[in-house]
Symmetry: D2
Subunit: 344 residues, 4 copies
C-alpha cells in the first residue's frame, strides 16, 4: 500500500511517520511540506534519524503524488484540505483528512464555526471515528478523521445517548489536553515558562470541537442537541482526559449504564473498559491507540460521570487515521497499531 502525507512537519504528521513507519503494509512514498521542502524530515525532527529520512517535497506536484499513492493523509490546518480533495475527486486515491474540512454533514455548521466558506460541499466524505462509523468508512473516498477532544468525548457519551439513558439537555464535557494539541507553531500559550506548572481553560463555549461532538451525539439520539464543552490546557505534552456529565433519566439504574458500555465496546480492541468505578489515566494510554473508559453513577445527584483517556496524537489523530486506513483497505484494524503504551 503506497501512502503519502500532505503536511508532514506538524506534530500530527510526525506521529503519522512514527506509526506508518512501523506498519507492515504501508510504503511511504511522498511527504510534503511547504516551509521545509528540500530538507530531509530528520532535519526537522531529529528523533526520526535512522527511522525515517525521506526528503520533504512541495505539494505543488500533487497530481504526481496522488498518482503514485493508494492513500493520502492530509495533515494541514483546516481550510486547506478541501482544495486537495476537490482536485483529486476523479482519481482513485483515498483521502484521510486529519483536519476539520470533511467532518461535517451539514457544511453550514462548518462554515459557522470555522469562519471559512466550504468549497467542496458535495464531497463523498464520511466521518472517521472508527468504532462508531466503521461501516460507512469501509467504502469511502474521503474520511474526515475525528478530532482529538471529540474522539475522547464521543467515546465516553455515545453509549449513554444511543441507549436513551440520559437527559439530552444535561450534557457537560470538561476536557483536558496536553500542550502538544496546540501544535508546533510558536505561541505564548505553548511557551515553556508560561505553561509549566500552569493550568487554565480556554475557548469556553466556543471551541470548534463542540459542534462535532453535537453532530455525532445528535445523530445517535436522532435529534439535535447542544452541550457545554470546555477545553483546558494541562502542563504535559501528550494526553486527553474527558470528564463527561449527564443526568440519568428517571428510572434508569446503574446496571443499564454498565450494559450500554458493554454492548458498545466489549468487542472493541482499542477500547479498554475499566468498568463502573474505573479511573482512566492519560499515561496509561500514552503512545498507544487505546481509549480507556470508566464511568460512575452518583445516585445523590442522579448523574453519570463518564471518563475517557486517549493519547491526543494517536487515537486522537494519527493512530485513528491509520485505523481508518486499515478499514478502507480491508486490513485487520489492529495492523501496525498493536503498540503498548509507554509507561512510565
Amino acid at each position: 500500500m503506497k501512502v503519502s502525507i500532505i503536511g508532514a512537519t506538524g506534530y500530527t504528521g510526525a506521529e503519522l511517520l512514527r506509526l506508518l513507519g512501523g506498519h507492515p503494509e504501508a510504503d511511504i512514498r511522498y511527504i510534503t511540506s511547504e516551509s521545509s521542502a528540500g530538507k530531509s524530515i530528520a532535519e526537522v525532527y531529529p528523533h526520526l534519524q535512522a527511522v525515517q529520512e525521506a526528503k520533504l517535497v512541495s505539494m505543488e506536484a500533487l497530481d504526481e503524488v496522488a498518482a503514485d499513492s493508494d492513500v493520502l493523509f492530509i495533515a494541514l490546518p483546516h481550510g486547506h484540505a478541501m482544495a486537495v480533495g476537490k482536485r483529486l475527486e476523479k482519481t482513485d486515491v483515498k483521502i484521510i483528512d486529519l483536519g476539520a474540512d470533511y467532518r461535517f454533514k451539514d457544511t453550514a455548521i462548518y462554515e459557522a464555526w470555522y469562519k471559512v466558506p466550504h468549497t467542496h460541499k458535495d464531497a463523498k466524505a464520511v466521518y472517521g471515528l472508527t468504532e462508531w462509523y466503521r461501516e460507512d468508512i469501509r467504502g469511502a473516498k474521503i474520511v474526515g478523521n475525528a478530532g482529538c477532544y471529540t474522539t475522547a468525548s464521543i467515546m465516553a457519551l455515545a453509549p449513554l445517548v444511543k441507549k436513551g439513558l440520559v437527559e439530552l439537555d444535561s450534557l457537560v464535557v470538561d476536557a483536558k489536553s496536553g500542550v502538544s494539541g496546540a501544535g508546533r507553531s510558536l505561541s505564548l500559550n505553548s511557551h515553556f515558562g508560561e505553561m509549566y506548572e500552569n493550568l487554565k481553560a480556554y475557548n469556553v463555549g466556543g471551541h470548534r470541537h463542540t459542534p462535532e461532538i453535537e453532530q455525532a451525539l445528535g445523530g445517535l439520539a436522532k435529534t439535535s442537541l447542544v452541550l457545554s464543552f470546555t477545553p483546558h490546557l494541562i502542563p504535559m505534552a501528550r494526553g486527553i482526559l474527558s470528564t463527561c456529565y449527564a443526568r440519568l433519566k428517571n428510572g434508569v439504574e446503574a446496571a443499564a449504564v454498565d450494559a450500554a458500555y458493554e454492548e458498545a465496546y466489549a468487542q472493541e480492541y482499542f477500547v479498554r473498559l475499566l468498568g463502573r468505578g474505573g479511573y482512566p489515566a492519560t499515561k496509561a494510554v500514552r503512545g498507544s491507540n487505546f481509549c480507556d473508559l470508566g464511568w460512575h453513577v452518583d445516585l445523590r445527584t442522579r448523574r453519570v460521570v463518564a471518563l475517557s483517556a486517549i493519547d491526543n496524537l494517536v487515537k486522537g489523530a494519527a493512530g485513528q487515521a491509520v485505523q481508518n486506513m486499515n478499514v478502507l483497505f480491508n486490513l485487520p484494524e489492529k495492523t501496525g497499531l498493536e503498540l503498548s503504551p509507554v509507561y512510565p
Copy 2:
C-alpha cells in the same frame, strides 16, 4: 502576637512557616511534630534553613504551648483537632484548624463523610472562608479553615447562588489540583514516575469537599442542595482550578451575572476579577493569596461557566488561615499576605 503550629511538618505546616515568618506581627513560639520531635524544622525542610530554624517539639505539652500562644494553627489530619479544641476550650487561645473537624454546622454530615465520630459537637466554631464569613470569624474562638477545593469552588459559585441566578439542581464542579494537595506522605499516586505527564480523576461522587461546598452554597440559597464535584490530579505541584457549571434561570441575562460578581467581590483585595470572558490560570496566583475569577455566559446552552484559580497551599490553606488570623486579631486583612505571585 504569639503563634504556634500543631503539626508543622506537612506541606501545609511548612507553608504556614513561610507565611508567618514574613508576618510583621507574628512571633512563632512552638511548632510541633510527633514524628520529628527534637529535630529542627530545617532538617525536615532544608529550604527553611536560615529562614526558620525552630526546634520541633511534641504536642504532649499542649497546655504549655497554649498558655504561651495567642493563636494555635492546627495542621493535623482530620479527626485529631477535636481533641485539641476540646482540651483548650476554657483557655483564651484562639484556634484555627486547617483540617475538616470544625467546618460543619451539622456534625452528622461530618460523621457521614469522614467516618469518625465528632467529639466536640458544641464547639463555638465558625467556618473560615474569609470573604463570605468575615463577620462570624471576628469574634470566634475556633475557626474551621475552609478546604482547598472548597475555597476555589465556593468563590466561583457563591455570587450566582446568593443572587438566585441559577438552577440549584444544575451545579457541576470539575476541579483540578496539583499533586501537593495529596500531602507529603508517600503513595503511588504521588510517585513521580506515576504522575509525571499523567492526568486522572479520583473519588468521583465521593470526595469529602463535596458536602462542604454544598453546606456553603445551601446556606446562601437558604435551602439544601446537592451538586456533582469531581476532583482531578494534575502533573504540577501547586494550584487549583475549579471549572463550575450552572444553568441560568429563565430570563437571567449576562449583565446580571456580571453584577453579581462585582457586588460580591469588587471590594475584596484577594479576589481578582478577570471579568466576563476571563481565564484564570493557576500560575498567575502561585505563591500568593489571590483567588482569580473569570466567568462565561453561553447563551446556546444557557449555562454560565465560572472559573477560579488559587494556590491550594495559600488561599486554599495556609494563606487563608493567616487571613483569618488577621480578622480574629483586628489586623488589616492583608497584613503579611501582600505577596506577589511567583511567575514564571
Copy 3:
C-alpha cells in the same frame, strides 16, 4: 523462543514486557513477583491491559520456570540474581541479568562497592554492553546487562579511550537521569512534590556505576583508571544524558576524534552519530533503543566534551537486554527493537 522474567513488577520488568510483547520471536512464559504473585500484571500496571495480561507467579518454582524457558531475564535488586544463576548453572537456559551481580570481572570490586559477598564467582558471565562486547555475548551462558548510566557514559568515552586520544586521568562524567531510574519503590526523593521543578546531584564520588565505567574503559585502555562520576536527578520520568569531559593528548586534533567515533559506530544501527558539534536530546530517543552521540572539541581548553543520550529504561536496561538476547540467539540485532522514539 520461550522467555520468562524474574521480577516483572519494577519499571524495568514492565519495560521488558512492552518490548518482548512486540518481539516477533519471543513467547512470554512466566513472569514472577513475590509481592504480587497471583495477580495479573495488568492489575499492577493498568497500562498493560489488553497488551499483556499474564498472571504473576512466585519464583519459588524456579526450576519449572527455567525448564520451560530458553532465556530468563532477571530484573531483581542487586544481590538476588547470583542465587538464581548458581541454581541454574547446569541447565540450558540462558540468563540475562539486568542488575549488577554479573557485571564485574573482578568480583572483589563488586563486593567493595555493593557491600554484599559475591556467591557465584566462577560464573561464566560476560558484560552486556552489546556494541562493545558482542562477540563475547554470542556464546555466553550469563549476560550481566550493562547499567543505565554506564551504557550512556561508556558509549560516549570508549572511542576516545580505545584510540588513546585522551589523558586517562582527566576523565569526568557528569550524568543526568530522569526519576524513573530510582524505580517504583516509594521514597521522598521520588515524591512528586519534592522532585517537580527540582534538580540535584546525589552520591557524588560514590555511585556504584562508577567502577563499572572504569572497568570498561580501563579494559579498552589496557590499564586501570579512575574517573569522577556524578549522577543527577532531573524532573522528568525517562532519559539519561551523559556529559563527558576528557583532555586531549598533545598533538591530537579534532579530525582524529571524529575518526574514532566513525570507526567505532558507523555500522551500528542503534548508535546515531550527530557528529562534531551535535547535541543529543533525551526526548529524541524516548521509548527507543537508540543512543545518540555528539562531541565537541574545545581548543581553548584542549578538552573534548562528548554527549550521549539514551532512554534509561530501553538502551539503559530492557532494550539492551533484548538486544543481547538477539545476539545470544543469532537473531538480527534489531529484531523487535525497530521502535521509533515517541516525540513530542
Copy 4:
C-alpha cells in the same frame, strides 16, 4: 528611593517588579517597554494585577526617567545598555545593568564573545557579584550585575581558587538551568512540546558566561585561566545547579577545603553552607535570593566536586540586582530580600 526599570517586560523585568514591589524603601517610578508602551504591566503579565499596575512607557524619554530616579535597572538584551549608560554618565542616577555590557574589565573580551563593539569603554563600572565585590560596588556609578550561570559557578569555585587549593587547569563547570533562562521570546527550544521531558546541552565551549567566570576566578588567582563550561537546558522553569570539578593540589586535604568555604561565606546571609557532603537542590531556593552550597572531596580521584544552587531569576538576576542596590544606597543587604523559598 526612586527606582525605574528600563525594559520591564522580560522575565527579569517582571521579577524586578515582584521584588521591588515588596521592598520597603523602593518607589517604582517608571517602567519602560518599546513593544508594549501604553499598556499596563498587568496586561502583559496578568499575575501582577493588583500587585503592580503601572503603565509602560517608551524609553525615548530617558532623560526625564533618569531625572526622576535614584537608580535605574536596565533589563535589556546585551548591547543596548551601553548607550543608556553613556547618555546618563553625567547625571546622578545610579545604574544597575542586568545584561553583560558592564561586566568585563577588559572590553576586548566582551567584544570577542558578544560580537558587538563596546561603545562605553571608560565607564566607571564595577562587577556586581555582591559577596565578592561588595566594597567596589559601594561607591559605584554603574554596576554590571553578574550573570545567572556565572553567579552560581563563581560562588562554588571562588573559595578554592582564592585559597590556591586547586589546579587551575583542571576546572570544569557543568551547569544546568531551567528554561526561563532563555527568556520570554518565542523559540523552538522554549516550546513546551519540545522541552517537556527533555534534556540537552547547548553552546558547548562557546557560552558567553564562560569568560565572565574566567575573569572572576582569574582575578582571585591573580593569573589568567581558562575552564570548560557546559550549559544544559532542564525541563523546569526556574533554577540553576552548577556542578564544578577541580583537582586538588598535592597535599591539600579535605579540612582545608571546608575551611575555605567557611572563611568565605560563614558571615553571608544569602549563602547557605550545606557543608561537606551536602546536596543543594534548586527547589530549596526557588523564589528566594539564597545560594546553597555543598562540596565533596573524592580522594580516589583527588577532585573536589562543588555544587551550588540558585534561582536564576533571583540570585541569578533580579534578586542580586536588588542586593546591589541595597549596597549602593547603604541599606542593610537583606532589605526586601528576606524571602522564604516557595516549596514545594
